[in-house]
C-alpha cells in the first residue's frame, strides 16, 4: 500500500501527538503513525509523577530560574538554545493542556506546584492520583479526534526513512496486523519515537522503547549527540512483583518520609559511601552516589535476594503513611504489599535518555526535511535531566517540530521516489526462512550485556568488551529477516527490533568509551573526576554501515550569567 501526506509523524507519545496537532493547525495534512496503539505505546502514558514549568502559581517563578536549574543539572553540556526554549515555552504548553482539561491538581484558585529534587522552588504540576501520563495522553487523543486533517494509524512500525538527494521524502513501514509493507511519501518527516531504555535489563521502558528513532535517524544520514548519557534511577522498584505503579514511585516516598536503604544483611550502608561529604540535605546520598552504593553492595555479595537493596518504611507509623500517600497505599495493598510489615527491594533502573537526534532551533536534523522531538532528541538536558523536564520537553519540542515541518511541507514539492524506497521494501521481502536462534533470547542477552558493561559505572575494559560483543551479535543477526509477510509476526518484530537495538547500543558504547571522565549520568570507575577539557558534545553518525564518532567543539561558557 502507498500513502501520501504533507507531514509524517512517527510515534504517538506526547511529542508526536503535539507535533501532529500543531502541523495540522498550520494547515498541513498529517499522518500520525505508531507501532502500537495511538497514545499508548511509549513512556508518556506510563509517567505518573510530575511536569516542570515556571508557571509561578505556587510561588513567584520565572523561566530563567528554571533554566538555571536545568543547566546546572546538565553539567555544562546543554545546548542552551534548546534548554531555554524548553523553559520559556513550557508554561504556555502547560496552560494550553489546562484549557484542554487535562486536570492539573489545584489548591484553591491556583494550580498546585510541588518542589521536586533539583529545582530551586515548587515548580512541578501533576494530575491526581498518579494519573499525570494517562491524563496527558487522553487529553491529546481527544484533541486529535477534534482536529481535522490528521490521519492516525496504529500497528504501523516505521522501518526506515526514505532519503533522496540528501532530503527526507517519506518512510517504509510494516503494518503489523496485516503484515503488509506500506510506503509513505511525505514532504516532512518527524521522528517522535521516544527513548532507548529497553536496551537495559532493568528499566522502566515499554516494549516499544528500543530506540528505533535513533536508528532511523542514523540510517537516514542524520547525526546523534550525547548518546553516552543514559539516566539511571537509583531506587527503581525491583521486588515483590508490582503492577500498575510507576517503578520510580519510591522517590516521593523517600523524599517525604525518609525511607531507609538496607543491604542484604539488613544493615544500613549509605553512611559508608558518604565519606566524600556529598549530601543534598534530604537523602544521605545524592542520586548518583545512591546508584553507586547499591551497585557496590550487590557486587560485594551483600545485595537483596533479587539483586538490589531493601527499602524500609517500617519506622513510619501507618497513620503517617496513609496521610501522605493514602490512595497509593491502597494500590500497594492490591499487590499484596504492606509497608508497615515488609521491606521492598529496589535497584538502579534505566529510566530516560539524554542523548538523541541532533537538531537546530527549528527541530530539524542535519538532513533537510527530517525533524525530531521529545525524548528522541539530544541537547536540552545535557549530561543529566531534571525531574519533570521530560514531559515538558515532549510538549514544547513536539509543538515546534510540528510547526517547522508544516512550514517546510507547505512550501516544498514532494521528493518521493519509489526507487529510493526500494532497498527497505526489498529487505522486507527478502525473508530468508531459516532456523535462527531464538531472537527473544538475543534481546535478553543484549539487555544483560548493556547492564553489565555499559551500565551506570563504566570502565575502558568493559566498554571494549561490549563493543566486541555487539559486533558479534550484529553479525549473527544476519542481513535479512527470518520471516515476513505474515499477520502479526513476532519473529519479524524481534528481528527488526534487534537490527535497531544493536545499532543504538553501539551508539551508546562508542562515545562512552571515548569520554575518559565522569560527568552527570556517565560515570567511569577508571576516570572518576570531571575534566574541564571534556566540556564538549560527542556526535555519532553512520559511516559505511558502522557507527562513527566525532568530537564536537568545546562549549565555552557564556560571558553573561
Amino acid at each position: 500500500m502507498h500513502l501520501e501526506t504533507d507531514v509524517l509523524v512517527i510515534g504517538a507519545g506526547g511529542a508526536g501527538m503535539y507535533a501532529a496537532l500543531e502541523a495540522a493547525r498550520a494547515g498541513a495534512s498529517v499522518i500520525l503513525a505508531d507501532r502500537s496503539l495511538i497514545g499508548r505505546g511509549g513512556a508518556t502514558v506510563m509517567a505518573q509523577m510530575t511536569v516542570a514549568a515556571a508557571l509561578g502559581e505556587q510561588t513567584p517563578d520565572s523561566w530563567e530560574f528554571h533554566l538555571a536549574d536545568t543547566l546546572a543539572a546538565g553539567r555544562g553540556l546543554c545546548n542552551e538554545t534548546l534548554s531555554a526554549m524548553l523553559c520559556q515555552d513550557g508554561p504556555a504548553r502547560i496552560r494550553e493542556m489546562d484549557a484542554w482539561k487535562v486536570g492539573w491538581a489545584r489548591e484553591g484558585d491556583h494550580i498546585t506546584q510541588i518542589h521536586a529534587p533539583g529545582h530551586d522552588r515548587p515548580r512541578c504540576v501533576y494530575v491526581d492520583v498518579l494519573s499525570t501520563g494517562p491524563a496527558v495522553s487522553r487529553t491529546l487523543r481527544t484533541q486529535l479526534n477534534l482536529a481535522s486533517g490528521i490521519r492516525r494509524i496504529g500497528d504501523l512500525a516505521i522501518v526506515d526513512i526514505v532519503v533522496r538527494d540528501g532530503q527526507a521524502c517519506g518512510a517504509v513501514a510494516v503494518h503489523l496486523s496485516s503484515g503488509e509493507t506500506v510506503t509513505l511519501a511525505a514532504k516532512s518527516v518527524i521522528i517522535a519515537t521516544g527513548g532507548l531504555t529497553r536496551l537495559y535489563r532493568r528499566n522502566s521502558a515499554s516494549f516499544n522503547m528500543g530506540g528505533d528513532g535513533y536508528a532511523l535517524a542514523l540510517r537516514a544520514g542524520a547525526e546523534l549527540i550525547d548518546m553516552e548519557f543514559v539516566q539511571f534511577f537509583p531506587i527503581g522498584h525491583l521486588a515483590p512483583r508490582l503492577v500498575g505503579m510507576d517503578p520510580i514511585m519510591w522517590d516521593p516516598f523517600r523524599y517525604k518520609l525518609g525511607g531507609k536503604l538496607l543491604n542484604g544483611d539488613l544493615q544500613e550502608f549509605e553512611e559508608a559511601y558518604a565519606s566524600d561529604g556529598r549530601n543534598d540535605g534530604n537523602y544521605v546520598l545524592t542520586r548518583d552516589r545512591a546508584t553507586y552504593a547499591i551497585s557496590k553492595e550487590v557486587e560485594a555479595g551483600r545485595g537483596s535476594p533479587a539483586g538490589g537493596a531493601y527499602l524500609s518504611f517500617q519506622h513510619v507509623p501507618d497513620a503517617e503513611l496513609r496521610r501522605a500517600f493514602g490512595p497509593v497505599i491502597d494500590r500497594l495493598a492490591a499487590n499484596g504489599i504492606d509497608l508497615t510489615k515488609q521491606l521492598v527491594e529496589v535497584a538502579p533502573i534505566a529510566h530516560y535518555h539524554m542523548g538523541g537526534v541532533r537538531v537546530d532551533a527549528a527541530m530539524q536534523s542535519t538532513i533537510p526535511g527530517l525533524y525530531a522531538c521529545g525524548e528522541a532528541i539530544g541537547g536540552a538536558n545535557g549530561a543529566n535531566r531534571l525531574s519533570g523536564n521530560a514531559i515538558t520537553e515532549a510538549f514544547v519540542f513536539g509543538a515546534r517540530a510540528g510547526q517547522s515541518a508544516a512550514k517546510n511541507a507547505l512550501s516544498a514539492a514532494s521528493h518521493w521516489s519509489h526507487e529510493a524506497a526500494s532497498p527497505t521494501v526489498d529487505l522486507l521481502r527478502s525473508a530468508d526462512k531459516r532456523d535462527t536462534p531464538n531472537l527473544a533470547v538475543a534481546v535478553t542477552d543484549l539487555q544483560a550485556l548493556m547492564a553489565d558493561k555499559v551500565g551506570p559505572f563504566r570502565t575502558d575494559e568493559k566498554l571494549r568488551e561490549a563493543i566486541v560483543e555487539i559486533d558479534r551479535m550484529t553479525a549473527d543477526l544476519g542481513a535479512a529477516p527470518p520471516s515476513s509477510g505474515m499477520t502479526f509476526d513476532p519473529l519479524l518484530i524481534d528481528w527488526l527490533d534487534l537490527r535497531n537495538m544493536l545499532q543504538v547500543a553501539k551508539s551508546v558504547a562508542v562515545p562512552a568509551l571515548a569520554r575518559t571522565e565522569s560527568r552527570g549520568a556517565h560515570q567511569r570507575d577508571d576516570h572518576p573526576g570531571l575534566e574541564e577539557a571534556w566540556t564538549l558534545n560527542q556526535i555519532i553518525t553512520l559511516n559505511g554501515g558502522d557507527v562513527a564518532l566525532e568530537r564536537g567543539a568545546s562549549i565555552s561558557k557564556k560571558a553573561s550569567a
Binding site: 511509549g42 492516525r152 494509524i153 500497528d155 517503578p247 499484596g336 524481534d494
Partner: protein, 111 residues
Amino acid sequence: MKATLEIKRGTPAAPQHVETFVVPFEPGQSILDGLRAVRHDTDPTLAFRFACINANACKECMMLIDGKVDYACTVKLKEGVTTLAPLPKKALVRDLVTEIAPPDERLHGRG
C-alpha cells in the same frame, strides 16, 4: 511453582487449536510475565499484544483469561491450568492478538 497455560492459537485462515505450555513462576508474577517466558523459553512465534509491561497503562494486553475478559498484566499466574483465548468480540489477527484499535485509527476498515 509451575503454571500450565492452555492457549488458543491460530489465524482466521486456519482452524484454531489449543497448545499447552508449562512455565515456572514466582508468586506475584503476571500472566503477561508467563506469556513472555513462553516466547523466551519455548516458542518465540506465540503472538500477543502488550506495550507497557508493568504499568497497566497501555491496556493492550486484554484477552480472555479463564473465560473472563481481563488484562494479562494484572491477573497473576497460578498453579494448575489457566486458559487463554483471544477476545471473542474482536476480529482475530493471530493467536491472542485481535483488532482492538478504534476504527478511525486503523489502516484498513475505517468506519
